[in-house]
Symmetry: C2
Subunit: 215 residues, 2 copies
C-alpha cells in the first residue's frame, strides 16, 4: 500500500505519518520508484505501536525512537530485546544527584530490592530508568514529609510483582518472537492507565468504606 492508504487504515494523517518517517520512528517503505514507496502490514502495526507509546504512554518522540531501536535489534537475545526495549521506557522525574534526600532514597530502594530478593534489578538494573524513577519518586515523598520506608513500599512492590506476572503471561502467550517484544512494550505502556485508574477507583471504594457512611 502507499502512504495515503497507510494513513487511512491507521487513522493517522499523512502529514503525521511523514513526520514519523522523518523522525525515524517508522522505517521507510520499499521504494518502488523515485516518487513512490510501498508499505505493508508491518508498517501498520508499527504505526499503531507508535501511537500507543506517544498518545497513551506520552513518551517523547525521541524516546520512542530509542525504544523501537531496541525492539528491532535482532543482535540481542529475546530476553535482552524485551528487557532493553522496556528498559528504554522512562517515566522521567529524575532525582537530583548529590542530594541528601536522594541518597537516603537510594538506601531505601536498595533495602527494598534486597528484601524482595530482586537480584536482577539490583545487579543489572541498578542504573535502569525504572530504578532511577523509583529513587526519584521516593525522594520526592521524603521531601514532602510522607512516610516511605520499606515497610510502606512493600505493599506496592507486592502488587507490582503480581501485575508483572500477568504481564509476562500475556507476553508469553504469543508464539512469534517479534510479537512478544511488541506485546511487552505495548502492554507495559497500555496497562499503565488501566492500573492507575483502577487504583483510583479502588481508593474511592476504600474511602467510601472508611469515611463514607457518616458523610
Amino acid at each position: 500500500m502507499r502512504l495515503a492508504e497507510l494513513s487511512e487504515r491507521s487513522g493517522i494523517s499523512t502529514a503525521t505519518v511523514k513526520y514519523y518517517l522523518r523522525e525515524g520512528l517508522l522505517p521507510p517503505g520499499r521504494r518502488v520508484s523515485a516518487t513512490q514507496a510501498e508499505y505493508d502490514e508491518s508498517h501498520l502495526r508499527r504505526l499503531r505501536l507508535i501511537r500507543a507509546l506517544v498518545q497513551v504512554g506520552r513518551l517523547p518522540v525521541a524516546t520512542v525512537r530509542d525504544v523501537l531501536k531496541n525492539v528491532d535489534d535482532t543482535s540481542l537475545s529475546q530476553h535482552s530485546r524485551i528487557g532493553s526495549a522496556v528498559w528504554a521506557l522512562p517515566h522521567d522525574s529524575e532525582p537530583a544527584e548529590g542530594d541528601a534526600e536522594t541518597a537516603e532514597a537510594e538506601r531505601t530502594s536498595q533495602a527494598l530490592l534486597t528484601e524482595l530478593g530482586w537480584g536482577f534489578s539490583q545487579s543489572a538494573g541498578a542504573e535502569s530508568p525504572a530504578y532511577r524513577t523509583l529513587v526519584g519518586a521516593i525522594s520526592a515523598l521524603r521531601r514532602l514529609g510522607y512516610p516511605c520506608g520499606t515497610e510502606n513500599l512493600l505493599p506496592y512492590a507486592r502488587a507490582a510483582a503480581q501485575v508483572a506476572q500477568s504481564d509476562l503471561e500475556l507476553v508469553a502467550s504469543y508464539d512469534d518472537a517479534e510479537e512478544q517484544i511488541e506485546a511487552a512494550v505495548a502492554c507495559t505502556v497500555l496497562y499503565e492507565p488501566v492500573l492507575l485508574s483502577l487504583r483510583r477507583l479502588a481508593e474511592a471504594e476504600e474511602s467510601d468504606r472508611r469515611f463514607g457512611v457518616g458523610s
Copy 2:
C-alpha cells in the same frame, strides 16, 4: 515571611511563585502594606503540594487549580473532599465517544466493576475521570488487538485494591482533616511513579526468570 523567603525555602524561583499566585494555585499572602505581603507555613506546604502535582503528577496547571479548589472546599464532608479532590485528578487519554470499541470497553468495565463488587464506583463514580480513563485505556488495548477481558483485568484490579488499602491506611494515619486530604492527593500522585517503576522492575525480574537463563 515574604515572597523572597518563600521562594528560597521552597526552592522555587520568585517568578514561578508569582506565576502560581497569578494562576490562583497559591492563595495570596496576608497583605501587610500596599507593596508587601506576608506568607506562612501553609503557603510553603501548598507550594510543595503544587510541585508534586505539577512535576511528578504532570497535571496541567488548570487541573491543579481544580484539585486544590476541592481540597479547600470546607463545605464538603471529609469523604467528599477526599473523593472530589482525588476525583479531579485525571489521567487524560479520553476515549472517543460513540466508538464501537469504546462501547465494548464500557461493557467490559461495567462487568469488571460488577464482578469486583465496587458498587460505589459503579454508581457515583460512573462518570469519574478515573472511570473514563479506564474505558479509554481498555478501548486502546482493544484497538491494538490485545486481550482485555475481565479475566485479564482482574489481576490488575486486585493489585489496585491492595494498593488502595495501603493508601487509605496512610491517609487515616493523619489526625488533622486538612492533612488527610493533602495526604490523599499527594500520595495518590506521588505513589504512582513508585508503583509504575516497581512494576517495571518486577517485569524485569519476571522476564529474567522466564527467558533469562538461556540468554
